[in-house]
Symmetry: C2
Subunit: 125 residues, 2 copies
């Protein structure tokens, strides 16, 4: 799996990494049960600091996406491991984006089409 880090982005490195790992799962490149590289090895590959990868892993664990087994490694969780609060949090994160879409003049259908196209993009490739 190919990860691209842009050091000069306004998005923190640990969040870029988290996002791309999640995208990798969504695209089916990696699956529940698979283990992620060690923080040291991953950091070495990406050319970033070990603590940055560690922060990313813990962010993903907080979201319920991976499980960190102490002294062992990080494993991608199964979908059924997600709790209700994660879905509530997701809704709160969609809100400002949907509001901005409406204010931009996008009609109801166009917003759904946009989201639908993103979903298809993830599932197709």
């Amino acid at each position: 799996m190919i990860i691209r880090i842009e050091p000069d982005s306004d998005i923190p490195i640990y969040e870029q990494l988290s996002n791309q790992i999640v995208e990798g799962i969504a695209r089916g490149w990696i699956h529940p049960g698979d283990s992620l590289p060690s923080v040291r090895a991953f950091a070495s590959d990406l050319g970033v600091n070990m603590h940055t990868v560690n922060k990313s892993y813990h962010q993903l664990e907080k979201k319920g996406i991976i499980t960190i087994v102490p002294k062992s490694g990080a494993i991608i969780s199964s979908p059924q491991d997600f709790n209700e609060s994660s879905l509530a949090r997701l809704k709160e994160e969609y809100k400002p984006l949907v509001a901005e879409s409406l204010v931009a003049g996008m009609p109801h259908e166009q917003i759904l089409d946009l989201v639908s196209s993103i979903i298809k993009d993830f599932k197709k490739i």
Copy 2:
């Protein structure tokens, strides 16, 4: 229009303000052509610093949501004033959220239903 600021949130104050102004427009509480309070008056109302409100206004102007008339005030833009790059930026912001939704086990339809319910919530009230 009622604005609620949570100083201890992990979301910056200027972004909380931006989000709630956009929501206000989406809900129809304020309309294109309406003018926003002066940065000083707004800051006084919210109990925050003038520069924080100023930053929020400039963020909204950058997104094409309001127009700042120098030495006069801030006015809410019309939907047709939005450019193509704003829509492209919106899509990029939807991506990680959609990916996370898929990873959480939400099927295609459920994601669209979630977004649809948010849209209805904005338009109903």
